[in-house]
């Protein structure tokens, strides 16, 4: 299955239970469910405007449990942009992003031209906060990437996050809105089914 050349692929990484799927679902479908179901890997597609034309934004929601290292490597090598999610309620979840970042760096060689967003999710849970915004900002500076706090639950900064990520891409001029006509068509594909032969 050759990938369409004008697809823009965003991969969401992060530890288990930090809210990767919630963020993606909030952005793609505008919904939030307070359920606890681990993801294996889901891909969502959305049409965006790109260089005065349209292209498909393909968002890959990955598993947080490091189950398929080979698949993780594949996602990184195919991805154009990355969202690294941690939960502000768990310092550990920020720690766990470090090996993922290292792997992105190793596979891509450099992160200079690659849009990467460090995202502190669950910003509504202020009472359980363990990671201060300053710390995360320092980490983002060290990694030469942008930082943002979001809440999929209260829909705070979710759309802004993707907008910001697209604006970081210098090679293309992309925007979420396509002349007022936003195509809500997204295809949820169980990517695994087609590709498990890779393992």
């Amino acid at each position: 299955m050759p990938e369409q050349s004008n697809d823009y692929r965003v991969v969401v990484f992060g530890a288990g239970g930090v809210g990767k799927s919630s963020l993606v679902l909030r952005f793609v479908k505008g919904t939030f469910r307070d359920t606890y179901i681990p993801t294996v890997e889901d891909t969502y597609r959305q049409v965006i405007s790109c260089d005065k034309s349209v292209c498909t934004l393909q968002i890959t929601d990955t598993t947080g449990s490091h189950q398929f290292p080979a698949m993780q490597r594949l996602s990184i090598s195919k991805g154009h942009a990355f969202i690294l999610v941690f939960s502000i309620t768990s310092r550990q979840s920020l720690e766990e992003l470090k090996p993922i970042y290292q792997q992105v760096l190793a596979i891509k060689g450099t992160v200079e031209s690659i849009p990467i967003m460090l995202v502190g999710n669950k910003s509504d849970e202020t009472a359980q906060r363990e990671v201060e915004a300053k710390e995360a900002e320092a980490q983002a500076t060290a990694w030469k990437c942008a930082f943002m706090e979001t809440s999929a639950k209260t829909n705070s900064n979710v759309k802004e996050l993707f907008q910001e990520l697209l604006s970081l891409e210098k090679k293309r001029d992309m925007s979420l809105s396509i002349d007022g006509k936003r195509s809500g068509k997204q295809k949820r594909a169980d990517k695994l089914k087609g590709k498990c032969s890779i393992m």
Binding site: A15, I37, P38, S65, C196
Partner: protein, 436 residues
């Protein structure tokens, strides 16, 4: 004419109902009063009492009662796995008593057979492996004790003390370091109870053993059961006990790698209530170190008991299982996938059982240990949010290195129906499938 008959029948029904209600309320109040002593058990007992009440009242069939007894027993099992101190059977009244560190719980059933079935299930869970069917089938009192003296040498180790119709068995909690002991009742020369310290001493011609009980009630209760057993033994010394087959027919052979056992017991002890256990990852460098330690010297791997330590242990266990030779060999993988695709539940389960039987002994033993543990984890899913489905989702790749809906269902069913698929004897298979 008909109207008179109708009224008569109605009145009769009313009177009967009233009587039943009265009896049941009495039972209910008695049980309730008794159980008030222990706050936690109270709720389970209310369920039980209510069910008895409803049963009498509606004269409905046994089903609801059975279901609720099962619920009660399940709850009991959860409680007793952590803190059970003593289980005693009183066969005459068809009930058994369960004593935990904080509570005392009485479970009753309609007949002895039903009661023993429940008891056996509880014993299967709390007693370590290696227990024979004769011991569990004839068990009358089981208690967690501290072995303070054995064969003249003083000691200090926790063990399960099992009194069955022909003897006394001691199963150490830490199986890897200590041997199980067995004494025949017929060879017992001396037994006494030191009530002040809750110590029971027993001696045969060549061995002497002293055991300390956690609390007085279990000690006295156990001792009185011992005396009853000795009396019975003298009355009918040559009695033949029922078929001495193994308690775990499917599971009789094979060993579980010590690393797997260690992780399982660590997570059972510290991690059943940790949110997202097995889903959330451990610290990568620590997990790597742990896996190395588990590979080389499992007994000294540095497992920590805080929340992070539990997550580390969970990740390490998953990684360890992945790195070893696959538990379900590649050669038979397709057969498992085919079995998982069978739509009829009964045939699917018997296919699973057949495939489990065909596995090498060690693989089967390891899978049994793992799934028995995952079953316990999902029992606590209200707290840890890891339902059987969620566990299956995060474990399928570990077990099969791939994922699809059929394997997901297979893994989920191996967790949920662990006892049926791994621990239940082959005979009467049809019946058991319908019951569950």
């Amino acid at each position: 004419m008909y109207i008179y008959v109708y009224v008569y029948v109605c009145i009769c029904i009313c009177i009967y109902m009233y009587m039943y209600m009265y009896i049941c309320i009495c039972i209910y109040i008695c049980m309730y009063m008794y159980m008030c002593m222990c706050a936690m058990s109270r709720y389970y007992c209310i369920i039980l009492a209510l069910v008895i009440y409803l049963d009498f009242y509606c004269l409905s069939c046994l089903t609801s009662y059975l279901v609720c007894v099962c619920v009660c027993v399940c709850v009991c099992v959860c409680v007793c796995v952590c803190v059970c101190v003593c289980v005693c059977v009183c066969v005459v009244r068809h009930q058994f008593e369960m004593v935990t560190l904080s509570d005392r719980l009485v479970c009753a059933a309609d007949n002895q057979e039903e009661l023993l079935t429940h008891l056996h299930h509880i014993l299967k869970v709390i007693l370590p492996g290696g227990v024979s069917y004769a011991e569990v089938g004839g068990a009358s009192a089981v208690s967690k004790v501290c072995v303070v003296e054995v064969g003249g040498a003083s000691s200090h180790s926790d063990a399960w003390l099992l009194l069955w119709e022909d003897g006394v068995s001691v199963y150490p909690v830490h199986r890897d370091t200590q041997q199980a002991l067995r004494m025949d009742l017929s060879t017992l020369t001396h037994h006494e109870m030191g009530p002040s310290e809750n110590i029971i001493t027993m001696a045969t011609a060549d061995r002497r053993m002293a055991l300390r009980f956690e609390e007085q009630h279990s000690c006295q209760s156990w001792f009185s059961h011992l005396q009853t057993a000795l009396t019975n033994q003298r009355a009918a010394p040559q009695r033949q006990s029922p078929a001495r087959r193994s308690l775990y027919p499917v599971m009789s052979q094979g060993t579980v790698p010590p690393a797997v056992e260690r992780c399982i017991s660590h997570i059972t002890a510290h991690g059943l209530k940790v949110d997202g256990v097995y889903r959330r990852c451990g610290l990568a460098p620590k997990v790597t170190r742990l896996v190395e330690a588990l590979m080389t010297s499992p007994s000294s791997a540095p497992l920590e008991s805080d929340e992070q330590g539990v997550l580390d242990a969970g990740s390490a266990l998953k990684q360890y299982v992945r790195q070893r030779e696959s538990l379900i060999p590649d050669a038979v993988r397709q057969q498992w996938v085919n079995a998982a695709m069978i739509s009829d539940e009964r045939s699917r389960f018997s296919a699973y059982r057949r495939l489990l039987r065909q596995l090498p002994d060690d693989n089967r033993a390891t899978l049994n240990a793992l799934f028995g543990h995952f079953y316990m984890v999902q029992v606590f899913s209200q707290v840890n949010r890891m339902s059987a489905q969620n566990l299956a989702l995060v474990l399928v790749p570990t077990l099969f290195q791939t994922l699809n809906q059929d394997l997901l269902r297979l893994t989920r069913e191996l967790i949920i129906h662990h006892t049926l698929l791994f621990l239940t004897a082959e005979r009467g298979e049809e019946e058991e499938v319908t019951v569950l």
